[in-house]
Each structure stands twice: as structure tokens, then as C-alpha cells.
Symmetry: D2
Subunit: 311 residues, 4 copies
């Protein structure tokens, strides 16, 4: 088995990958972008790709949302949550904040630590890096002229970097959600606390088009835990929606909602049903009677009996 | 074949029955009430019963709506429209309106001619009859003391009664709709312009319970041509709804709407799919693409393909 | 003060009228029909009319629903519930059921006692009467040839009639709801447990027209305790709806729902806000926060503040 | 008047600002971030800030959506559309693509030209810059070691840079939408083709919470031209929505929709009504009769008349 992930090594994505059972015995290959990671799965160069999809502070990860929504179909088989916490690492010889004048990191990491930086590193300059790990490892390169970097604890520990401060994120408790992606194939069996991800183009923009889509879920008591709008790239106001719905395609209310989506927006793309991490308040147990598998089965049987009598 | 109908002979119901192809060669038996007519079908004493269900002036015919909604299941196999027009017939020897002091007829017929009567028979007395035909034929009985009766043209012609005035109905163009009822069995094949009748108990009275029912039709583009609320008889505010929806149970959007109704209100009763009389502006031809049989079939096939890959 | 009611004396309607405080000191005038009673109010010949509007067994009273929906505006100022129970009264000299061969009563009363009659008076004939009281009082007239009548206890007691059986109604616990009607004028002050009655023409028959109307209530958490469809008389399928909604026009959610109705169906007619009889499970106390008067007031104030800054 | 904008000079944002009438005579101050630009307006250091809000390829601009949604209130007074097209500029002496080995630009610009770069600059390295202008101007600094930069035509022309290729964007026709922001104050007068922007926290996550919000617009025929979900930063699945709705707060259907939003989600923030750029297919002219100002005014007047009669 070959796993790829959004690299380089030492980022939060590798931390997410390490949570997958059995992955430590498998081959792990970093990719330079989400697109590259997913293309490796499509081409067969990798069996699975771990990529970030949603951050509790920054929101949906556009690169992933877009890459998974188009091109050859892929399937989400697992989700992983990783708490996001940052450390400030410095070039050797620097041991106080006063000595830090230039900081490098990825733009997203800088966005999540900016208030801390402004308060604790007054007048500092920011140098964007292509990843938090690249920024951190760049400190080992004497050609670079910046003093410090902001990165995940993992890369600091893997490389024994000089950690000046821990926990410098502006928002405590931030979490990033990652998904493990494969070619379409086996759908994980339902656990009673599952999630289904779909991508739905908005059919047209009459008032209420989005409501018609959402109603496919709401009318069957299916709760949504995430909804992201993304531009199709064709024009301002042309959207698709990336949606996580609570439930599994083997549950009748979800299958019926998906069928309804397909009628209204035939370009809908199913991205998988897989176990939810974390107990949902709206898991299967609390489904209203008329949205249970039994209610759907009885209703279908009733209609079938009636239709059997066609003259 | 034995046909029964709401009698006596000569009423609008017999006129409706005479429109059924082949009925002139069959046995025709009047019944004294809608209930009696339907019970003859349930017991096998008759194959079909013709009963009124809706009047364009008076509204739904409660006796029929209630009798068909409870008890052993029955099925509507045909609808018939009969224009409602009334004649004033008089006892022999009476040849002007001035001589008419007392008028007998059924309360419904009187309600539909009351303005004419008040304008043309000032100071008249009204004597209720058990049917328009009974009132008319009573004129032949010397024991009765009323001068005139209001009835359907059919009974006047069948019995060569003395017609004083024709077309005395207050509302020109009134129509009554009759249905031909049999035991459940063969559903008439779809014609592309059909109607489906159901009876649905309102599940409970939270705000919007009725909307949840109606949404089963609206969300699938199924138009309603009639909706009647009727009390269940249990308490004020406890209702069932009698609904005519445009379409046939063999059409996917209708079958799906019925299944949705059954989930929400498992006591729903299917009363038949049968050809509509009169061209509907909302017939099958104008169904939106996403509510066509093709859209439903494609959606179901798509979901089935996805589910085939369960791990 | 002059009160009229659907007569004759001794019917359930008079029983309803007697519940109105102060009515025993007022003039009480029976009318021969609902229409006549309402016309007396319109012309000023009476100040108030008591008429039946809804029966827990028979459903809406069409004559009232129609008469109040058209013509010069009227207003409901009070509702009264009367339990419906019937007695069998007989001609003097008849003291057993075996002696009863012909029974007279109003068609509605016969419909509510038919099963008892069929079980206890086998082979009896039914003679329709213009009212239960007329049928009962007819027993005092030697010219009539029927043996017994079915009527309200009130008329039997008022006239010391010979009561053979009490409580012969097929459905125990039946209730009829009556409304006291005046010219439009003072709306009764809100009590916290009120009802608002409106008549709404269905604007046209696209799929969902009725839902658009109902949504005006549902979207504001206003529960409906009664909904009746009535034909406009123009064509099959042309309807208006008579609706009782829980709440008072002085409550913001109701006023807002009424305004919404008016936009969609400008022919909507307000028939009054008045105290509910019987404790409703959906009374004002259980209104969701966002549908309270406070929420409406805050929202209106917020929008007004924003609009105050128009450049 | 002082205008600030997301700098540095020469970016698309400055190009947007130059479209504002009268701005060439005003003071124009670049800001280093969206946050900084908006804070200048809040503090009074600038009267207006021009910031990007939506890109037809990349989607909503998170920094702007978030900065405008929280903190002291701001108001959008104008929108500006700028076509997005990129040029490849090179260090002096480089005159063919073969000589380009390292390219610097902002990550967003690189994302929008990546396919062109991969096809035309095989094996190139990418060096992230803090802005497209910074990357381009860096070519003038001999200390930098990259060969080329990707930037807006404006900065290339302002600085007479060496343009190797024009129009290298992967998606032709891309457009970015910018908004001009001020302190809350005068709302621009309606033009008949306006847009209203609001930020709405999702009240809770019961099935359909988002539908309840959207229904406030749909039920009044208000079309949405943009909807973005953004995390509140509190937890995964905790969202607010940034919405552009077609219409002006002075139009009754919009004011009513806003009031409805406020009831359901009292934390709603109004960000302005301002003229739409580009003719919308859903502009005021096509509003259904029951959603016009007249319909709202008539409905309000009707309810007010009714309430005037409270007893």
C-alpha cells in the first residue's frame, strides 16, 4: 500500500496520516500540492491520499474542494481530525523574541498566528513560505536570512529545531479536518454515525434554486454538517456546493435524498459515505419515525403492491 | 355486470351512469343512499357504483367522501361530469307560476335554485324531499299537496311530467362530478391525462403538518385539482384530507409522492388512478424535466450503482 | 340588543345562543336560514346572529362558510361549543320502539343517528324535515302521519314531548361549534388564547399555490385549527379556503401572516379575532422566541434604523 | 478624501480603485493587508477602503469576508468588477521562455496561471511573493535570484517592466469583484438594479436551519447572487453566511426579508445596499406582483385598518 499526502514531511497532514491504522507499515510519499497528491491516486501511483478539507478557523480548503469536485472521480473513505497548534522555531543562537525580526511561514499559518506575532514581535517582517515545514527547515539553510519560522510541532520535533514558544495560535482549540481519498471502490460499511459528502452544481439561479437542493435533505430529516459554496470558474455567481450530510448512502433517507439531488442537478457527484469522527448530536438514533429505513421500506412496499394491480 | 347508483331513477346520478360505455346493456339498480350503493359493491351485490363526489357550486359530497374513506377499501375507476340544470315541473292542471304555492325538492337542489324561486315564486313554501326524483314523482300521487317540484330534466322526460320552466338554476354552468367505484382490482392504464385520488389523515396538528403532506406533491411538481378537508368524527380539529392529484400511479413522480405520503401518514388510502375528463392544463406533457419518469429512473439507477460498491 | 339565530326555537343553535352572557335579557329572533340570519345583521334588523360553523362529525357547515365568505363583510366576535346529543320523541300514545314505523328529522340529524335507527327501528321509513325542531313539533299536528322524530333535548323539554330514548347519536361526544356574528366593528381584545378566522381565495392552480398560502402561517409558527376548502361556484377546482388560525391579529406573527396572505391573495377576507373556547395546546405561551411580539418589534426597529441612513 | 486599498500599488485592487469617479484627485494610500485597510477606515485614517471580495475562479476572498463580518460595523457603498488577466514579466536581459527557471508571484496568481506555467515553463521553480506587485518589482532588485514574475498589467506598465507574455491566465474571462467600504452612514439611493449584502450567523444546526434563513429571501422572491459559508472559528460546523441579495433595503420585499432574518438570527449584520454592476436578469423590473412595494404597502394598510378596530 502506498499513501501520499500533502507534504512536505512534518506538516499537519502527515500528522493526520499517522492516525490511519496500519499506515506506519506502509509506504508514505509526500506530494507538493493537493492536486499532485490526488493525481497520484488517479494514476495508480498511490492507493490513498491524505489531504486537508476544512479548517475550523480558515474554513474550507479551496484547493481540495475544487480538485476533488472535478476530473476523474475519487472517493473519501475516512476522515481525520487534527488539533492545530503552532510553535515558533528560531535559527540556532536566537533565544529571545527580541532577536526575531523576520518570520517565515505559510500564509495560512501566518493568518492563524498574526495577532500573536503583532503583539509579541513588534515590527517584524513576514516572508511567505511554500509550506510551514519548508519555512521551518529553511532555518537550517545558512543562505536564508530570516530569523524564525512558524510550524507544526511535528516538524520541529522530527528535526530537533530550536523552539522559542509553543501554542502561539490566536484561536485555541482550532481543528483541521483531513480526508483520506481513494479511487471509487468499496464504500465503508455503515456504523450508525456516518457522513456522506457530495458535490452539487447549482442548476440555475432562479430564486430558491439552492433551497430546492437543500430541501432534498431537509424534507427527509437529513442534517448537514458542512456546506461550502465554490465558484465553478465560469462566471461570478456560478456556483457548486460541497456538502457533508449526516448519514450513510445505505440508509434509505440518504439514498432518497441523493436520488432527489440527482433529479434536480444531474451533475451531482458522490464523494463517499464514511464514519464520522466525533459523536454527532444528529446521528442515526435520533431519526424521526417517518425517515427511518422501516418507514421507507413500508412506503415502497405499499406503492409496489398498489402498482401490481395495473389493469 | 351489475351497476348500482344513487337513486332513485331519473336523478343526475343515473344520467352520469348512462355515460359509461356498455351500461345500457347491463343491469342498473338504484340505491337509496351513497352508503347503500357502496355496500353493494363491497358485498358483491353489484360490480360498480356510480356516486356523486364534487359539485362546482355545493362543493364536495360529504356522504361520498366519508363513505369511501373508511370501511373496506374501494377503488375509483372512472370519473364522469354532468352539467347541472334544473326544471320546474308542476302537477297537471297548473300552467303558470302564479299557481305554484308549495315546491318540493331535495335540499341541495333547492339551495341551487333558491334565488330563482324567491324571485319567481314569491311567498312559496318549501317542502324537503328525499331526492329530486322523489319530489317530482310525488306530483303523480294525489295524496301529496304540493304544486310543483324541482328536478333533473331526465326524470321529467322519463315520466312525461309537466315542465313549467327549464334552466332555473341560479348558477349557470354548474357541473357535478361523479365517480364509478369498484372493489380494488385492476387500475386503469395511464392515458397521459389522469387523476389519482387519495385520502390522507392529518398526522398531528403541529404548525405545518398539512404543509408536510402537500409538500409531497409540490416538491415533485404534482398539481392538485381538488382538496377537501373532512372531520374524522373524533374531535373538532381532527381532519382527514381527500385529494385529487394530477397524474397516474405508474408515473414516477406520483408513485414517489405517494410513498412520501405513506411515510408521513401511514394511514393514507389510495382510491385509484383513472383518466381525467376534460383536458387539464397541467397534464403529463408539461412536467418539468426533473420530475419526469426518465429523471426518476436515472436518479434511481445512479444511486443503485453507487450502493453496489458497498465494502 | 337583538339576537337572531338559525331557528326554529329549540334547536342546538338556540342552545348555543343561550350561552352568551346577557342574552336572556335580550330579544331573540329565530331565522329560517343561515342566510336570512346573516342578512338581518347586515341590514341592521339584528345586532348579532348565532349560526353553526363546524360539526365534529359532519364537518364544516357549508351554508355558513359560504354566506360569511361573500356579500357585505361580517365579523365573528365569539365562538360557542355545544355537545350534540339526540333524543327520539314519539307521538302521544306510542311508548315502544316497535310502534315506530316512520321517523322524521333534518337530514343532518338523521345522518348522525342512522346506525342507531337501522339497528333499533328495522324497516323504518325516513321523512326529511326542514329542521329537527320542525320534525319534532310536527308530531303535535294530527295531519302528519309519522310516528316519531329525532331532535335536540331542548325542543323536547320546551314542548314536553314524549321522549322514547335519549342519547341515540351514533358518535358519542360530538360537538358543534357556533359563531356569533356582528357587523364589522370592535375586535375583541386578546386573551392569550384566541383564534383568527379568514377566508382566502386560492390565487391560481399552479402546483403549490395552496402551500404558498399555508406557508404564510407556518413560516411564522402560527398553527391552524381548521381548514375547509369550499368551491367558489365558478368551476370545478376553483376554491377558496376558510381557515381558523391560533392567535390574535394584535399579535405580531398573526398580523404579519395576514399581511403575507394579502399580498398573495388580495381578496383575503378577515372574519375576526376572538377568544378560543377550550385550552389550545398551541396557545400564545408556547410561541418560539423568533415569532414573539418582541422578536418582530426588534426586527422592525432594526430595519427602520438601517433605512434611516438612506443617502 | 482619503482612499486606501489592498496594496501595493499596481495590483488589481488599485486598478479597481481607479474606476471610482473622482478618485484620481483624491489621496490614495496602499495598505499591506485587507485587515489593515479596513482598520484605517474604522479609525478614521481613511474615508474609504477598496478590497477584493469575490473572484470568479478562486471564489470568495476569505480575508475580506471575515474582516468585514466582525469588529466595528462597516458598510459597502460600491462594487467594481475588474477583469483578471496576467502578464509574465522578466528580468532585463531575459527575452525567451527558455531562460525562465524560477518564477515568483502571489500564491493566488500562481493558482490561476499554473497550467500555463507547467506547459510553457517546464521544470520551473515557484517562489511565493507577498503580492503580485512585490514579485514583479523584486525583479528590479539585483539581490533577488528569480528570473520572472506573474503580475497585473498595471504594475508592469507603471514600472515599464519587460513583458514576455500577456494573457497567461488559465481561465479566460476571469473577473474579480471589489467593494468600496466606508463607515456606516449614507446608504446609496436605489437605482432599480441594486444589491444588498448581509452576514448571517447560522442560529443552530437542526436540519433545515439554513433553509429557514434562505426561505426569508425565497418566500419574498428575492434572488441571491452570492452565498458563501465561512467558519465562525469556534468549532468545525459552526458557520456564518455571507450573502448578496438582489434588491435594495428601501424595497419592501428586501426590508421584509431582512426583518425575517433578524428574527431568526438576531446577530445578522447589514453590510449595505448599493448599485449592481452589470445588468442582472432578476432586477427589480421582474418582481412578481405580490412582492412589489405596492403589494406590501396595500397589505400593511389592510392590516392596519383591521387593527384600528380593536375593541
Amino acid at each position: 500500500m502506498i499513501y501520499t499526502y500533502l507534504g512536505p514531511a512534518g506538516t499537519f497532514t502527515e500528522a493526520a496520516l499517522m492516525q490511519v491504522p496500519g499506515v506506519d507499515a506502509a509506504e508514505r510519499v509526500p506530494s507538493t500540492s493537493v492536486n499532485t497528491a490526488l493525481e497520484k491516486v488517479r494514476s495508480g501511483a498511490a492507493d490513498f491520499a491524505m489531504v486537508p478539507i476544512e479548517n475550523s478557523v480558515e474554513g474550507g480548503v479551496s484547493a481540495t474542494l475544487d480538485a476533488i469536485a472535478t476530473g476523474e472521480s475519487l472517493q473519501i473513505v475516512r476522515e481525520v481530525l487534527v488539533p492545530i497548534t503552532f510553535v515558533l522555531v528560531a535559527r540556532d543562537g536566537i533565544d529571545s523574541l527580541e532577536q526575531v525580526h523576520t518570520v517565515s511561514t505559510h500564509g495560512h499559518a501566518y493568518a492563524q498566528t498574526r495577532h500573536w506575532c503583532e503583539a509579541n514581535l513588534p515590527g517584524h517582517d513576514f516572508l511567505p513560505a511554500s509550506s510551514t515545514a519548508a519555512g521551518a527547515l529553511g532555518l537550517l539553510d545558512p543562505e536564508n536570512h530570516y530569523d524564525a519560522a512558524i510550524c507544526a510541532p511535528l516538524v520541529a520535533e522530527q528535526n530537533s529545531l530550536n523552539i522559542l514558544r509553543r501554542g502561539i495560535e490566536d484561536t485555541a482549540g482550532a481543528v483541521t479536518r483531513f480526508v483520506l481519498v481513494s479511487k471509487p471502490g468499496r464504500i465503508p460499511v455503515p456504523t450508525g454515525n456516518d457522513k456522506t459528502t457530495v458535490v452539487v452544481p447549482l442548476p440555475d439561479d432562479h430564486p430558491g434554486a439552492l433551497m430546492d437542493l437543500l430541501d432534498q435533505f431537509a424534507a427527509r430529516g437529513v442534517n448537514l454538517s458542512r456546506i461550502e459554496s465554490r465558484p465553478t470558474g465560469e462566471a461570478l455567481g456560478s456556483y457548486f456546493f460541497s456538502v457533508d450530510a449526516e448519514g450513510h448512502i445505505t440508509e434509505a433517507r440518504m439514498a432518497d435524498a441523493l436520488a432527489g439531488l440527482h433529479r434536480i442537478s444531474p451533475g451531482v457527484r458522490f464523494l463517499g459515505s464514511y464514519p464520522s469522527v466525533g459523536r454527532s448530536p444528529n446521528a442515526t438514533a435520533s431519526v424521526a419515525r417517518h425517515n427511518t429505513d422501516e418507514a421507507f421500506a413500508e412506503a415502497a412496499a405499499w406503492v409496489a403492491r398498489l402498482k401490481a394491480h395495473l389493469g
